[in-house]
């Protein structure tokens, strides 16, 4: 188990869980989103490379209506 901060909320995930797995869990795979992992932007090719650990901060953003 690992406790991470996902979009400002505390979330508990399994160990050996990657960003790819996280996106799958929240049904966001293939969506137009961008990810920031501990303050660094992660490109799609690297979604499987990082295993999430305690206190990691993940931000998942997308486009919404705006002026």
């Amino acid at each position: 188990m690992a406790k991470i901060q996902l979009n400002g909320k505390k979330v508990v995930i399994k160990t050996s869980f990657s960003i790819f797995d996280l996106l799958k869990k929240y049904k966001l795979s293939g969506k137009k989103i961008a990810i920031e992992y501990n303050g660094t932007i992660i490109s799609k090719e690297n979604y499987k490379k990082n295993y999430l650990k305690d206190n990691d901060k993940i931000e998942i953003v997308h486009f919404i209506g705006g002026g």
């Binding site: 929240y26 989103i33 486009f63 209506g65 705006g66 002026g67």
Partner: protein, 260 residues
């Protein structure tokens, strides 16, 4: 029919069919947003970058209603109050789908949403260095507008009046001065209240206008979107046609020759 010279609008090498750019905020729902965008004839829309609501998997997505392959998304930095926040937002936007053409706005004051031009110029420099094409929301100060152009801005976007105020163009003289000096497109952004305001901006010689609240906050947004489409075309044609001279006294429209 008179054959008119093709009047093409280009921003950062992108050819646009419409000189009206619309914002996608504050509509009742995405369906209304999509209908209004369609009625406006705009081929570019501004969008904001925000956190995904991860716990609501059924929440509709803007991209389901406005196809980013068919309409140009212009990611903005609405809500950013310093350079770091704005850069972070636009880097994320670029990651999302390769968006290089972006709209920068760095706000300085919560009440007026007036842009912080010091942070705006700083951010423009960095973004241009990183390969972005930056359309920049700014004050209507000609000197600062020039500074933005000198630093590589792809378009200058002076405010007509405060964001969402609907007060129209407050300083026509400054907007005219900016138009005269700029080699990149000048697009009036913020403060337009109604269709005639957009016509005035276009008659001054603006290359385009960006409208959100004036459409979304009207009683019938879809009809208002159409009104803006026509207003922008009218204003542009009127500018291209060149208005008559003003005279202080009357000049008869019918000749006096042959009066009985």
């Amino acid at each position: 029919m008179v054959k008119l010279k093709k009047d093409i609008f280009r921003v950062a090498g992108k050819k646009l069919n419409s000189r009206l750019i619309v914002g996608t905020g504050k509509y009742k729902n995405f369906s209304e947003t999509a209908k209004a965008v369609k009625a406006s004839g705009a081929d570019m829309v501004t969008v904001a970058v925000r956190r995904v609501n991860i716990f609501d998997k059924k929440k509709p997505l803007l991209t389901d209603y406005l196809n980013p392959k068919k309409i140009i998304y212009l990611p903005n930095t609405a809500g950013c109050f310093n350079s770091d926040e704005a850069l972070r937002t636009l880097r994320l936007a670029r990651e999302m789908g390769g968006w290089k053409l972006v709209k920068l706005e760095v706000l300085g004051d919560k009440k007026t949403l007036y842009p912080n031009m010091i942070e705006t110029i700083k951010s423009t420099k960095t973004l241009v260095k990183e390969g972005f094409n930056v359309m920049v929301y700014c004050t209507d100060d000609p000197l600062l507008a020039k500074k933005l152009e000198d630093n590589g801005a792809s378009a200058i976007m002076p405010l007509a009046s405060p964001i969402g105020s609907g007060l129209g163009i407050q300083n026509k003289l400054n907007i005219s001065l900016i138009i005269k000096q700029s080699k990149v497109p000048v697009i009036v952004d913020a403060g337009i209240g109604t269709a005639s305001d957009a016509t005035i901006a276009m008659e001054l010689g603006c290359d385009g206008v960006l409208i959100n609240s004036a459409i979304s906050n009207s009683k019938k947004p879809i009809l208002m979107a159409k009104a803006f489409k026509d207003a922008v075309i009218s204003g542009r044609n009127s500018y291209l046609a060149g208005r008559m001279n003003k005279n202080n006294l009357a000049i008869p429209s019918s000749t006096n020759k042959g009066i009985i």
